[in-house]
Symmetry: D2
Subunit: 152 residues, 4 copies
């Protein structure tokens, strides 16, 4: 990893925030990897997450990818900050088939205020991985306001 976290407790900070994201629990998402500039979240295929053809709904994939990117950015932010994604764009590369999905956020360009991340979702089936979503996201750092969620 080419990035260094300025807050040594970055992983705990990310985990504490993740468990407060009730929507991730609704999707059955599990935080599986947190490193400086990187975050991975896993979730299983479930009927509750499908679109009209029985595949993963693009929005469910994008939701977990958005959290993965936000937390990847959050690893590099100061201890007393909060994080807010301000925009994202995703391309749906393949139908979301498979038994399990892995969402990954990777910091592309850290910034004092705006951090840019790559976000992606891979489906796993029979030992094979297929990237089904790829996107870009801008994340805003709210300094000195860990409890606030106002946008900049």
């Amino acid at each position: 990893m080419p990035f260094e976290a300025q807050d040594p407790a970055f992983a705990e900070r990310v985990r504490a925030s993740f468990v407060r994201q009730r929507f991730m629990a609704t999707l059955g998402a599990r935080l599986v990897r947190v490193e400086p500039g990187l975050c991975e979240i896993e979730f299983d295929a479930r009927e509750e997450l499908t679109q009209q053809h029985g595949y993963l709904h693009a929005g469910a994939a994008a939701s977990v990818a958005d959290s993965a990117g936000g937390y990847a950015a959050y690893t590099l932010m100061p201890a007393d900050s909060s994080v807010l994604s301000i925009e994202f764009k995703v391309n749906l590369l393949a139908p979301g088939r498979g038994r399990r999905f892995l969402a990954r956020g990777t910091v592309v360009r850290p910034g004092r205020r705006v951090t840019v991340c790559e976000i992606e979702v891979e489906s796993e089936e029979g030992g094979h991985r297929t990237r089904c979503l790829f996107g870009l996201q801008s994340v805003f750092c709210l300094p000195g306001s860990p409890g606030s969620a106002e946008r900049g």
Copy 2:
């Protein structure tokens, strides 16, 4: 509405597809308006949909917006076709506060294969509406394959 549907049964077709989107039920989303080139989907604020500050998770908003845009496009497609969103981009304009949300998809440019939609989510609170998400989406029409979900 400046658009005309070529399939007179467009609304039934959209409704039949919507009920097959299990993820919309998971989000508590209700299809409330279907017109040529337009679709509105409503859902209530619920703890299960929140992010770490207690507001609506951006992914939940984007998910319903994605369905609203896909179905807005689908109203203008032929009877024996299926619909697939190929990409979308959203800007998060305000925290998703409020008791109820309304997602709207509006066709901006219909196409034989690719249709472009505006997508948005408004939050409603105390008679006041605030647009919290605004975006653009490209939707692909798969002709002659109502049961298939392969991407073009």
Copy 3:
């Protein structure tokens, strides 16, 4: 217009910046309208701006739209600030045919740091206007640093 400029000299500030954008001169672009939250830039069809089929290159359209959106946002910023677009997304709705083009940037959501704009380009031909580009843009305000161009 629902917006109010905090700097009464906003239009002069925008015009002074526009003339420093040498690329706008290269494209033959003319600033034709500056209001709080709005900016319009006009340019003529010229062979120098075409793609392989003789229509306006998507990049030329996006370039003028990017400037229009950046300046729409800049109208609402403080006197001693500079402006930087941090991301944009465009959908190409129709081939860029016609004799003249009008790019328009409109503020959708002003922010202290990040302002979101709609950007579009219309082609004009025989009294008829066709929207050929539509997009969304995020613009960053650099406070207190009119001469700097560092990103936040």
Copy 4:
């Protein structure tokens, strides 16, 4: 390269189309690399391409990146087809400083109709490269209509 071109004359086809893009000549852009699924275009820093702070205008960078991505996709298309970018999204990662710029388009997901590309621009200065633009693009293949530019 993991991709194979179906048309053995893909490179000649791309070069022939590139020289018809008059806008690339206006920007001083040179096609420097064409491989299956990949295209690189180089251009020099010139005052004619600057924004208000003397750096490369984001639109000029996006324009060359759009052509690089379109041609990367075009390498994988059939001989009798034409190419059209239908949307792109770019994040501006750093000011466009430097003496020379390299735009690169790379196919992420080829499709019979819609191909998705990564697009990027690096600035070169003193042997050092900085990525100043990163984005995603959807490119449409118009089969059997090499001379047409109608959108699908």
